[in-house]
C-alpha cells in the first residue's frame, strides 16, 4: 500500500530541485544582462530578502507567545514546540484512513466470497473446469467447464476493442486538432453522452434495430472470409450473434476510450508540436511526429480499460446473444450465437437453487473477476510505466547535465 505519505517524499525533492535551478538560470541571465555591473543590484536584492525575512520571524515568535501566554509563563520563556494536534486533524485523518481501509476490505470480501462458494463446487466438478465446454452443473455428476464462455467473452470483447479504438482515436484527434472550436465541444459531448445511455437500452436497440442493419455486413464478411472458421456463417438467419454483440459493445466502450485519448492528445506539449511544425510538418505529420508518440501509452491503457468494460458487460450482451441450442455442436464462428461469462450467469440466475449449481456459476464469475482484474492491472502498469513526463526522462536529463558538466 502506497499511502500519500509514502509517495510524497521522493517527488518533493525533485520539485524543489528544479525550482532551485530555474531561478539560478534566470539569475545568470540577469547577471550578464547588461554591460553595466549589476552586483550592486544583486546585493541590494539579497539585503531586501533578509530584511523581509526577519520581521516575518519576529512576527511568528510573538504570535506563538501571544497564543501560548500560559505556557510561556509556566516554562519561563521556553517556546512551546510539542505536538500540534487539532480535533479536525484527527477526525479527518481517521475518516480518510477508515475509507481507505474499507475499500480494501470490500475487495477482499468479494474475493473471499467468490472463493468460498466456488471451491466446493470445483472439487465436485467431474470435468476439467478450465478446458471443458460442457456446462451441466448440479445433479450427482456435475460437469462444467468455462472454455466456451471464456472464448466468447474474450473474442467478443477483443473485436469490440478492435472496432472501437481506431474510431476513438479518430474522434479524439478530430476534437483536439481538426475541429473548429465551436464544433469540437458538441462532438465531444455527444460522444460522452453515449456513456450515459443505460446498457439495457443498448441491448434493445442492438437486437431490434441495429442487428437487422448489420445483416448485410455479416453476409458480406462471411462470403468473403468464410473459409476461415472464425468467419464461417452457420446456416440460418440468426442476427443475435457474437459479431452483433461486439459492434454494440464497441459503441458502448467508445466514450471511455475517446475521453481518455482526447485528454492525453490535448496534453501534448506545445513545444513538441511546434518542433514538428517548424520542420515543415503538415497537420497530419505533426500528429504523427508528436501527438501520437506522446499519447501512445494513454491510448493503450484507454483501450485496456475499454476491454475491461466490454468483458464484464452483461445486460446488453444477454439481450443480443442468442443462446445456442444445447444439442448443436459448439461453433467458434463470430457469426454464431454464444454466451459470455456475464450473460451465462445472468441468464441462469433463476437456477441458483442448490449450492453446487450456484458454486459453478460463481466459479465462472470468479474467472471473469480475475480476467477483468488482470486487464485493468495491465492498463494501470502501462500508464504508470510510460506516463508522459514521468520520472524516467527527468532523471535522464539530470544525468545528462551532470555528464556534460564533467566533460566540460
Amino acid at each position: 500500500m502506497s499511502s500519500p505519505d509514502g509517495t510524497a517524499p521522493p517527488d518533493r525533492p525533485d520539485g524543489t530541485a528544479s525550482d532551485e535551478t530555474e531561478p539560478k538560470i534566470e539569475d545568470l541571465v540577469h547577471e550578464d544582462a547588461g554591460p553595466t555591473p549589476q552586483f550592486g543590484g544583486l546585493a541590494s536584492e539579497h539585503a531586501e530578502h533578509e530584511a523581509a525575512q526577519q520581521p516575518a520571524e519576529v512576527m511568528t515568535e510573538s504570535g506563538v507567545e501571544a497564543a501560548g501566554t500560559k505556557a510561556t509563563t509556566e516554562t519561563g520563556g521556553k517556546l512551546e514546540l510539542g505536538p500540534v494536534g487539532h480535533l479536525g486533524d484527527r477526525l479527518f485523518g481517521g475518516l480518510a484512513r477508515g475509507s481507505g481501509g474499507l475499500v480494501v476490505l470490500i475487495v477482499a470480501f468479494v474475493g473471499i466470497f467468490l472463493l468460498a462458494l466456488a471451491i466446493p463446487a470445483l472439487i465436485d466438478d467431474k470435468s476439467s473446469f478450465l478446458f471443458s465446454r460442457i456446462w451441466e452443473p448440479g445433479g450427482d455428476e456435475p460437469r462444467f467447464g468455462i472454455a466456451a464462455l471464456f472464448y466468447t467473452t474474450v473474442i467478443s470483447s477483443i473485436i469490440a476493442m478492435l472496432i472501437a479504438v481506431p474510431i476513438a482515436i479518430g474522434v479524439a484527434l478530430f476534437v483536439t486538432y481538426y475541429a473548429p472550436k465551436r464544433l469540437a465541444a458538441p462532438v465531444a459531448h455527444a460522444v460522452d453522452l453515449l456513456a450515459a445511455v443505460p446498457s439495457i437500452i443498448y441491448g434493445l436497440w442492438g437486437i431490434l434495430f441495429f442487428a437487422p442493419i448489420l445483416r448485410p455486413v455479416i453476409n458480406g464478411l462471411s462470403s468473403a472470409l468464410g473459409w476461415i472458421p472464425l468467419f464461417e456463417k452457420p446456416p440460418g438467419d440468426n442476427v443475435g450473434v457474437v459479431f452483433t454483440a461486439s459492434v454494440v459493445l464497441a459503441i458502448m466502450i467508445l466514450p471511455v476510450v475517446t475521453a481518455i485519448s482526447r485528454e492525453i492528445f490535448a496534453q501534448t506539449p506545445i513545444s513538441h508540436r511546434e518542433g514538428a511544425l517548424a520542420l515543415g510538418a503538415t497537420r497530419w505529420e505533426m500528429i504523427r511526429l508528436s501527438v501520437l508518440p506522446y499519447g501512445r501509452s494513454g491510448v493503450v491503457s484507454a483501450s485496456m480499460l475499454g476491454l475491461g468494460r466490454a468483458l464484464g458487460e452483461t445486460v446488453a450482451v444477454l439481450i443480443i446473444l442468442s443462446v445456442p441450442n444445447g444439442n448443436d455442436p459448439w461453433n467458434s464462428s463470430i457469426f454464431a450465437g454464444g454466451e459470455t461469462f456475464a450473460s451465462k450467469i445472468a441468464n441462469n440466475a433463476a437456477e441458483f437453487d442448490s449450492p453446487e449449481k450456484t458454486g459453478a456459476y460463481i466459479a465462472a464469475g470468479l474467472v471473469l473477476f480475475v480476467v477483468t482484474f488482470l486487464v485493468n492491472s495491465a492498463a494501470r502498469i502501462i500508464v504508470d510505466r510510460s506516463t508522459p513526463g514521468a520520472k524516467r526522462p527527468r532523471r535522464n536529463r539530470r544525468a545528462g547535465a551532470a555528464t556534460e558538466g564533467a566533460s566540460a
Binding site: V29, R273, G275, A276, A278, L279, P393, G400, A401
Partner: protein, 258 residues
Amino acid sequence: MAKRIEVSGLNVYYGDFKAVEDVSMTVEPRSVTAFIGPSGCGKSTFLRTLNRMHEVIPGARVEGKVMLDQQDLYGNGVDPVAVRRVVGMVFQRPNPFPTMSIFDNVASGLKLNGVKDRKKLTEVVESSLKGANLWNEVKDRLDKPGAGLSGGQQQRLCIARAIAVEPEVILMDEPCSALDPISTLAIEDLIEKLKDRFTVVIVTHNMQQAARVSDQTAFFNLAATGKPGRLIEMAPTKQIFSNPGEKATEDYITGRFG
C-alpha cells in the same frame, strides 16, 4: 543557401489585440541579426511571423509584407508548411522528439520531405550533426533517444535537425535561455559557424550575447503596457552598443530600465 528577408509595414494581431506595429527591416543573408528588448515587446512574436509559426495560435494574423528574396511569404497560394521548410526554427526550450533516436530526430525533416534513401539520410545526419558541433559527442549512440542528452546537447540536436533540411533562414527564439553558461558558449560558437551558410535571426534577452554573436541588432520596445511593440532602431551591433541613435536604446542597454 541564404536569402535576404525584407519586411515592410508589418502589423501583428492576436484577435483584436495589436501585438506588433509597423515593423520594417532588412535582414542580410549570411549574417546574424539579433532582436533585443524587454519582455513582451513583441520580438518573439515578430520572429514567429518570419516563418508563419504565429499561426499556431488561433486568431493570430498579420498585415504587411515579408519578402524572402522577392517572394512574399504571405502571398496568395503560399502554404505556411512550405514556408517553414525553407525558414527553420529553434526554440527556447530544446524540443527533440522524445520517443525518437538521435538519428531519427535529425532525419525527421528529411523524411518529411520524402527522402527515404538510407545512404543519403546517413550522410545528411552526419554532416548536420557535425554542422551543429555535436557529432563527436553522439556518434557512438545515434540509436539512443534524443531525450537522454543534456539540455545543451538537446539544443544542438534541435539545431542539427533544423539545418538538416538546408533551410534558407534559421530563426532562434532565445535558444540559450534554458541553458547553463558552458552550453550557451557552445551554442554561440555554433551560431558563429552557421552564418557562413545561413541567414540567422536570434531573439535574446542577453545583451552580451547579442553583442558577441550578432552583426546587426534590432531593438524593440513598447510605448506603454497594453500598447503594441515597435521596432525602435536597427543598426550594426557595434554601433547599437557604443553609440545608439535613440535614447530608449541607450537606456535599455545600459540597464536603466527593462
